[in-house]
């Protein structure tokens, strides 16, 4: 297996023959903050496998009525509608944390899936993991406190990015958590007062990961355990 591919878990865990099938079709790309990878109801062009960036999948019901349903990072891939046999989605996919990724044209991905049932099975497990993550986002948004939701999201970001510092503006956190900026101010302050994180203007440092895990509880732990069962991916920090 090529070491250059190891940063993305989906690619890194493919069988040798499946990797050989798609490796020639992969293209390295740099993704910038707010790049649109998928636009609602438009044909999806590429499937992205992030190395060290985070993509937000967003459901949108008009101005001020959009919310993140899940994130895709080094654990997963975008274009899940294509893996499921469709070519578009009413959701959008937007880069939330800039970084590197590999991408494959959806046409090439469809052909590779048609040729290899093991590749298809690996990708279906990734989609199922994302569906569980999205259902726990719904649960968290409906039932968890803002500090619990924030702990959950910071852990999810920490799992998918290198290091212990996250470059996130309050605006990004507000958008991802579906709250106003004052809610972010209050939530961050609560986590900081408990010594779980420290914050500077645009940087959040994770100080006590175990404490964040305890605070987030099942809204983080269940999806994470299920993703490990389905795909073998697990947090390493």
């Amino acid at each position: 297996m090529s070491p250059v591919l190891s940063a993305n878990h989906v690619l890194a865990s493919l069988t040798k023959s499946d990797l050989e099938l798609i490796q020639p079709l992969l293209e390295k790309v740099e993704l910038n903050f707010r790049d649109d990878l998928e636009i609602p109801n438009q044909r999806i062009e590429h499937c992205y496998f992030p190395d060290d960036c985070i993509v937000s999948v967003i459901s949108d019901a008009g101005p001020g009525r959009a919310i993140e349903v899940g994130i895709v990072g080094s654990d997963s891939c975008t274009a899940q509608a294509v893996i499921m046999g469709s070519d578009r989605s009413p959701n959008s996919a937007v880069v939330q944390v800039a970084g590197r990724a590999r991408r494959i044209r959806c046409e090439g991905l469809r052909q590779a899936i048609a040729q290899s049932s093991t590749l298809h099975r690996s990708l279906l497990a990734v989609v199922q993991s994302f569906m569980i993550q999205a259902s726990f986002t719904a649960l968290a948004n409906g039932k968890a406190r803002i500090d619990e939701r924030m702990a959950r999201w910071l852990l999810m970001a920490h799992d998918r990015l290198p290091g212990d510092t996250l470059s996130l503006t309050h605006e990004v956190l507000a958008n991802t958590l579906g709250v106003r900026r004052a809610g972010v101010t209050v939530g961050l302050q609560k986590l900081e007062a408990e010594g779980l994180i420290s914050t500077k203007r645009k940087v959040i440092e994770i100080r006590n990961r175990r404490g964040l895990e305890a605070l987030a509880g099942e809204v983080y732990s269940v999806q994470t355990a299920e993703q490990r069962r389905l795909t073998g991916w697990h947090p390493t920090k």
């Binding site: 803002i146 106003r180 900026r181 004052a182 809610g183 101010t185 209050v186």
Partner: protein, 80 residues
């Protein structure tokens, strides 16, 4: 656009907004503060916490308080 800061008070604790939000004018800042107050109050009530000592202070860049929005101020909604 001017930068407005939204400090949140809950009882004796004042949580400072060090970042601020760029908004077109004071009217927009007031709308933001009212919407934020509604959201914080809903969150608190949903988790069986009181809201009667909650306030949001709108400050300008120089630290001057422009207006204080309390939880009481949003009980009637925005209809005239």
């Amino acid at each position: 656009m001017p930068l407005y800061f939204f400090h949140v008070r809950d009882g004796k604790d004042l949580i400072h907004d060090h970042v601020g939000i760029e908004l077109p004018d004071f009217g927009a800042a007031l709308s933001e503060a009212r919407a934020a107050m509604r959201e914080l109050a809903i969150e608190a009530l949903r988790h069986a916490q009181g809201v009667h000592r909650m306030e949001i202070e709108i400050n300008d860049g120089s630290g001057r308080t422009l207006q204080v929005v309390t939880s009481r101020d949003v009980l009637d909604g925005d209809e005239p």
